[in-house]
């Protein structure tokens, strides 16, 4: 991480560089920076090969793809592939579900991850800290298919654990798998259970980078634990939080298919609150798998994600230019 006080200097340097670059020409700057360029080249190459080259495939979204003709010779069809999505009678439902649920995940995920990281950071006993970290990290490696079985064991109507407990304490059982109103929260819980540990590790790493002298100085001034967190730890975490949140916003239109498909057990009675763009596209294209239409849906999600990321970056920039991604 670049230390905050370094920022103006870096800016000046960059300004100087671009100035001289302009004066002495492209070739000069190429030669001048050849070592840096060399160092960057493997990364840039990977980016080109795996992220930019496949983008040519975007044109499939505008084509009536025929495998025997290939990508380039398949006939153009304009926006026809997008029709099924935009003419879908449930477009509003799947869009709102995708945005709301992912929004919920981003917000609760941020709070839970940072909170957990703060707690873990205060555990002083090394071995205990490691143990906790491993325990909370583990769910990240459990497949959604398995999580689906866990939740079914808990929630099913015939002999689910939750309903048994509800009955034991004198409440009436709930038909979870036909009550869509509970599912945004059930899904959020499942999401947090699985991803909080992973998220907290990133924040923990960021915390390790905070200079201990700040805390020593604060303690000398009589700051309590809460004040230390409030005035030292959290401000230092803001850059990481911003970056991770911005990245998450960029993916807000992509739902985690495994979560929405397996944890709900693809139960159609729950679609009212759990049907998202990805599950809808899967369901709609199962009968007549069409590469063009699937590509169109993917492109639509990417474009909206791109717009959202630009917008949120713009907002961050307005509030605090130093925190913006670009």
């Amino acid at each position: 991480m670049i230390h905050l006080t370094d920022a103006p200097r870096v800016h000046q340097q960059a300004a100087r560089l671009s100035q001289t670059g302009r004066q002495r020409g492209f070739l000069w700057s190429l030669r001048h920076n050849k070592l840096f360029l060399l160092m960057a080249s493997p990364g840039v190459l990977l980016l080109l090969v795996f992220s930019y080259l496949p983008m040519i495939g975007i044109i499939i979204a505008f084509k009536d793809f025929r495998a025997n003709l290939g990508i380039f010779d398949s006939p153009w069809v304009g926006f026809k592939n997008f029709e099924f999505l935009f003419r879908s009678p449930v477009l509003a439902r799947i869009t709102i579900n995708t945005l709301l649920l992912n929004g919920l995940f981003i917000v609760t995920g941020l709070v839970a991850s940072v909170g957990l990281a703060l707690l873990l950071n205060e555990v002083r006993l090394k071995i205990a800290a490691r143990a906790y970290q491993t325990v909370v990290f583990f769910p990240y490696f459990v497949s959604w298919v398995i999580v689906g079985y866990f939740s079914f064991a808990l929630l099913n109507s015939d002999n689910g654990l939750v309903n048994q407990v509800l009955q034991r304490i004198g409440l009436s059982p709930v038909a979870w798998y036909s009550s869509p109103q509970y599912w945004p929260w059930i899904l959020t819980l499942a999401y947090l259970w699985k991803s909080t540990g992973y998220g907290s590790v990133i924040y923990l790493a960021a915390m390790l980078g905070i200079n201990q002298e700040y805390y020593e100085a604060a303690m000398l001034d009589g700051a309590n634990k809460w004040q230390q967190i409030r005035y030292i730890t959290l401000p230092h975490l803001v850059p990481v939080m911003t970056v991770l949140t911005l990245l998450a916003v960029g993916r807000i239109f992509f739902a985690d298919f495994g979560l929405f498909y397996y944890v709900t057990r693809d139960n159609s009675l729950l679609y009212a609150t759990t049907d998202v763009i990805d599950t809808y596209v899967y369901r709609a294209l199962r009968v007549n798998a069409d590469i063009g239409m699937a590509a169109a849906a993917g492109l639509y999600q990417s474009v909206v994600g791109f717009v959202l990321i630009l917008a949120s970056n713009w907002m961050v920039k307005k509030i605090d230019p130093d925190r913006a991604l670009f």
Partner: protein, 503 residues
């Protein structure tokens, strides 16, 4: 095996073997015919090599089998056989490239689900067989009713050789033998699902640990006598015996209404689990004896044996459907001759061998005797795996030809003479009025996608009895129309009328 199980087995095989197939060893060059051994016809024919391209694992011994096949084929038709298996995962793509490049091939496997048959006809990749069939493969031509060949007709011409296997879908139920005996259920007296009610009631009351049904779902197009001409997933159908070919919304019929009302009744009576149970879990629970009965399953000859072997529960089975022949089922697996073949006549003769010569057919589908399999009972045609079974074991009888010529691996199936019973069922089932019609989904792709989504969302709870049909059925019909079902019906009717003209 039902088509579904076969597909599952297939995907497992594909999954296991994708990417690790060994290259096919070069087959021995065509040898000069040996007049002393060859019969007269073979001697008159010039020697040729016929290739057979199909999907499957590339087994180590495939060239040995090619050679063994060639030995028979050289004697009979002076042809050398070269097997060209292509891994299932790559088969579709490879065939497209082969055809696009105009590469030479003779016999190819083609189906509606892989190496697409209709597309191959449309692109001129495979040739019409009407003239070749009776002339060069008379045994094959006569091995099934002439009306069955309609399933392979496009624009009035036959383009594929249908592999005979179970072609019809006699949907019915499987019931646990112990419970059926205990509660005195005579399965032969059951002709519709409604008749099962007293038994279900008795099980519900008498067996606290057993749920009577795996699901109240009992809807099947075929049980109602409907031919789903577009797809099993879309409620667009004709009545199988309707010569007028009137296309209608199957969800708006009294038959569908009766089916969902029955499901609702049984669901409310507690005859089925409250939540939807995925297929794999239901299977495991069936194995553990948690259920008494399974509805809406294909009840084919030998089905009860297969069922018992799979789940370890002895069962009775009974169909409640009057089966009929549909295009999708009858044309599920075919072999065709390439446009680029230099010897279509000889290729047809090889197809004749594949479909009528028991030894030849079992050689390609089971391997070499003593090496890949051994006799258990030669008279009853029962075999067991041989010492080198792993080196050639395609396990795709249905791909190579007439499955009714296959040796039995299972003594019980042989005991019941399952192949003969299946052949009889196929031949006795009337053809659908739309046999041979293939729907082209391209003009209504958008509507199909949205209708399929609505079907999955609303039809499933309805047919499982989880929602009240009183309100949910009208809602379902409304949503179907919103998603464009009428457009699909109109398009299907148009295509069907055009097809009827060329028939």
């Amino acid at each position: 095996m039902s088509r579904m199980t076969r597909l599952i087995a297939l995907s497992v095989v594909v999954g296991l073997l994708a990417g690790c197939a060994a290259p096919v060893a070069a087959p021995p060059a065509a040898q000069a015919p040996k007049p002393a051994e060859a019969d007269q016809t073979a001697a008159e024919l010039p020697p040729v090599t016929i290739t057979y391209t199909y999907g499957g694992t590339v087994f180590k011994d495939v060239d040995l089998v090619s050679e063994a096949l060639s030995e028979i084929a050289r004697k009979k038709i002076n042809a050398t056989i070269k097997l060209k298996p292509i891994d299932w995962g790559a088969f579709d793509e490879k065939m497209k490239l082969t055809f696009a490049a105009g590469e030479e091939c003779d016999i190819v496997f083609t189906a509606p689900w892989i190496n697409n048959f209709i597309q191959n006809v449309a692109n001129g990749n495979i040739i019409p067989l009407d003239d070749l069939l009776p002339k060069y493969a008379p045994g094959l031509w006569k091995s099934m009713p002439e009306s069955s060949w309609d399933a392979a007709r496009v624009g009035g011409k036959i383009y594929g050789v249908l592999n005979q296997q179970i072609w019809v879908k006699p949907f019915g139920f499987y019931v646990r033998k112990d419970l059926a005996d205990k509660y005195k259920l005579d399965v032969n007296s059951i002709n519709k699902y409604e008749d099962l009610e007293p038994f279900l009631k008795a099980v519900k009351e008498g067996e606290p640990d057993v749920t009577p049904l795996t699901s109240a779902y009992n809807w099947m197009f075929e049980t109602a006598g409907f031919d789903p001409i577009v797809s099993q997933e879309v409620p667009v159908a004709i009545r199988f015996d309707d010569k007028e070919l009137k296309v209608f919304n199957a969800a708006a019929t009294p038959e569908f209404k009766a089916s969902v009302e029955l499901a609702r009744k049984w669901y409310l009576a507690g005859y089925a689990p409250k939540d939807k149970i995925p297929r794999a879990d239901a299977d495991a629970m069936w194995r553990a004896g948690k259920f008494a009965m399974m509805l809406a399953s294909v009840v084919k000859p030998g089905g009860d044996i297969e069922h018992r072997q799979r789940f370890g529960q002895p069962v009775y089975a009974k169909s409640v459907t009057r089966p009929f022949l549909t295009t999708a089922a009858a044309s599920a697996t075919m072999n065709a001759i390439c446009r680029t073949s230099k010897n279509p006549e000889r290729a047809m003769m090889v197809l004749e061998l594949l479909n009528t010569d028991v030894e030849f057919y079992n050689l390609i589908s089971k391997g070499i005797e003593g090496r890949h399999w051994e006799w258990v009972d030669k008279e009853k045609k029962i075999i067991k795996p041989g010492p080198n079974n792993a080196d050639y074991n395609p396990n795709t009888d249905w791909q190579f030809g007439n499955q009714f010529n296959a040796y039995y691996i299972d003594p019980e199936q042989a005991e019941q003479n399952v192949w003969e019973a299946t052949r009889k069922l196929n031949n006795e089932s009337p053809p659908s009025a739309a046999l041979g019609f293939n729907f082209n989904p391209d003009p209504v792709k958008t509507e199909l996608a949205n209708v399929a989504a609505v079907v999955k969302e609303l039809q499933e709870p309805l047919t499982m009895g989880m929602v009240d049909p009183e309100t949910a059925l009208p809602e379902y019909l409304k949503r179907l129309d919103e998603a464009g079902l009428q457009t699909i019906i109109a398009e299907a009717q148009k295509q069907l009328n055009e097809w009827a003209k060329t028939k």
